[in-house]
């Protein structure tokens, strides 16, 4: 009996590669889960739900994508789970946030690095912006940062947490002006950081372009600068980049969002996804809803994302080296 079971187990093993290949050929034949490492209602979750809504279309993947939230510890919980426990059969994918997960892996204490994952495609980029309350005495980025230079450590600046885009932007500004800022991470993410600015708990803040744009429309904040290489022509044509204002801050803090697979996923499946997923992001209905919500779209293919990841990896290693 034992022998029989052993034989069956062995033969099952022997057939596995064959089954794998067959699976890749008619992939996907059931719904695909996409893990989002932030809570329901957050910007990443919200955008992930929009960009995956056309997946079931016959011309795209032909199967729906289902969002699973695994929030906690600034994304570490979800990505740890994805790197260590998720299957590599292509039916479990994950959303990524760069620079967040790369910065976290450099700081250590997590089970992943950029090498644990295979990028599929990028759907959006949300630059960080510098904001002040509407009744703040500072009207330009120059005025604010001159004050910060003259009073090191006195300018409080709220942001969504540690080693997220907002924090990276604050670190870069600090380096550019050669003086310390009091960066205040919040527990409730970008919304709590925004509340701190509007209520005047802090002098300034770093926040997402999309959220800051809404807050400005509601008449609550002034947006002083964008931490990106170019101005955002669509939403904020009049707001200068930090670079234009004379500060050496590039687009390293821009929050890139996209979809990735776990390393070890069959290459045929990755290729197939890399071809279809950008097409899904570019779908007219997706872009319409993304624009309606004020979420900046930036579609990048697998090769472009691979380059972006390795650039960030190198840059962040340098930036975070001096820290602590």
């Amino acid at each position: 009996m034992k022998k029989l079971i052993a034989a069956m187990a062995l033969s099952a093993f022997a057939f596995t590669p064959g089954i794998g290949a067959a699976q890749a050929a008619d992939y996907p034949d059931r719904p695909i889960s996409v893990m989002v490492s932030y809570g329901a209602g957050g910007a990443t979750d919200f955008q992930a739900r929009i960009v995956t809504m056309m997946a079931a279309n016959e011309k795209l993947l032909g199967q729906p994508m289902v969002i699973i939230n695994k929030p906690g510890a600034g994304g570490r919980v979800g990505w740890n789970w994805f790197a260590s426990e998720a299957e590599t059969d292509g039916y479990t994918l994950s959303a990524y946030n760069v620079p967040h997960f790369i910065a976290q892996s450099i700081k250590g204490g997590v089970k992943y690095s950029a090498d644990s994952f295979e990028p599929i495609a990028n759907w959006g980029s949300d630059p960080a912006v510098v904001i002040v309350p509407k009744d703040s005495p500072y009207n330009t980025i120059g005025e604010l940062l001159d004050y910060a230079k003259a009073n090191p450590g006195k300018v409080t600046m709220s942001g969504a947490g540690l080693f997220v885009g907002h924090h990276i932007a604050a670190l870069q500004i600090q380096k550019a002006i050669g003086a310390k800022l009091a960066y205040i991470p919040t527990k409730g993410g970008g919304a709590a950081a925004m509340k701190a600015v509007i209520a005047g708990d802090v002098i300034a803040g770093v926040n997402n372009l999309s959220d800051a744009f809404r807050a400005r429309e509601a008449g609550n904040v002034k947006i002083l600068a964008v931490a990106d290489l170019e101005r955002n022509e669509k939403f904020l044509p009049n707001v200068p980049t930090l670079k234009e204002a004379g500060y050496d801050v590039d687009n390293s803090s821009v929050n890139f969002r996209g979809i990735m697979a776990k390393k070890g996923t069959p290459p045929e499946i990755i290729e197939m996804l890399a071809a279809k997923v950008p097409e899904m992001f570019a779908n007219g209905r997706v872009t319409k809803q993304m624009n309606a919500g004020g979420s900046p779209i930036k579609i990048m293919n697998r090769a472009e994302v691979q380059k972006m990841w390795s650039d960030r990896q190198a840059f962040l290693q340098e930036l975070l080296k001096d820290l602590k």
Binding site: G41, K187, M194
Partner: protein, 504 residues
Amino acid sequence: MEFLNHLGGVFEPVAFLLLLGGTIGGLILGATPGLSPTMAVALLIPFTFQLEATQGLILLGAAYTSTVAGGAVSAILLKIPGAPANIATALDGHEMAKNGQGAKALHISFLSSGIGGVIGVLLLIFLTPVLAQWALAFGPSHLFWMAILGVTVIGSLDSKSFVKGLLSGCLGLWLSMIGYDDIQGAQRFIFADALTGGINIISALIGIFAIPQVIEMFAKGRIASSISSLEVEKQSIWASVRETLGYKRALSIGTVCGSVIGLIPGVGGQIAGLLAYDQARKFSPEREKFGSGYAEGVVAAESANNAMVGPSLVPLLTLSIPGSPTAAVLLGGLLIHGIFPGSDLFDNHPKVAWTFINSMLVGQILMVIFGIWIAGYAAKVAKIPNPIMAAAVLVLALFGSYSIQQSMGDVYIMLGLGLGMFFLEKFGFSAAPLVLGLILGPIAEANFIQGSMIATAGDGTLSYFFGGVLNLFLIALVIASIAYSFWASIVLAKKTAPKPEVTK
């Protein structure tokens, strides 16, 4: 009175059907252990993609309203609070159900939810601009003192002994520290992967409240007395209405606590129910009846947690800041239709804004009607023999804790905490203070650290935490609350001195 102009919008055929569907669906989702209001609303978001903006928001608003109240069903009948808002409901509500008064408990809970809820939405309609300023007035130092105020309640909450109450509270505070600290980046007590994100409050609630009673039911074994079950008393609706309206003190305390606390971003509904319950007990002449199945406790808790629904949306609708996770999901529901909360919403899309608010108003009333209708049937749960009941609760507990984020880690945490709580209860410790510690710990801690970081950059810690009218007012409340607890424990100690506590 602009809201009246748009009241008709709620009664358009499609809108009203959605409102009905949202209310009934919300009650069911809310009554399912593990599905918090936030999760329930998030599940509905994809449906709103296909709907018009107003219709989508009606669905979400109705679901939000009724999931909060639906959580009371499982809290009362199964002692599994659906969300932190329903913890205080379980304290007296489940005792009532055990005494065969489940139908009455449900009636009273839905009626007081409805009353609190309607008042909360009316506040949202009439006082939004004033309330918005009030919501912003709470900075880190004030939130810290609010949390400390909550901590002072711990000692007196649902515990025979003041010291044991405090000890369970401390245990809760310690549990809340587990996980990755978002502000300073420290890793604390993470011995297993499942703990990286800390202890999920919903799975903790399920474990701490449900598991000890499951063990208790199984431990009784197959003796005749455990198989026989209660008769469920019939309860006429009018008697319930009269009784609920009779608890004016509890209703007003609950509504005030709920709407004031609901307004503050970040603290929100989690503690409104517990604070209202505690205050209602302190002011009640029959305070010793609380915890033994006394309807006034249910009234205070439920009126508070639904009163909070309306005001909790003020920061979202006026300032575009989601003050609670549920509000964040609702924000998503607005954004996909290209509507930005804030002045844009009220100036350019008044129909959307007011129909949404009206739908919550009408939703509250529908929720009461359907709630009472199902109460009679639902209360029959108490007739189920113990062994079957225990198995059913266990299944629901496992399912509920797994479904939060499809993680077995949460299930193990739930079971571990439940087992621990079973033994703690044997030594006279109780669950409510522990859970309150678990909820308040992160609020107190995060705001203290943030406050001191801001203070160090500014005028110094002392003036930041002790300066200003609001700080001093909250500190005065803290002192008053501690003084009361001491006084009460001394008075009670004298009263109960002759009969020593039975602990094994």
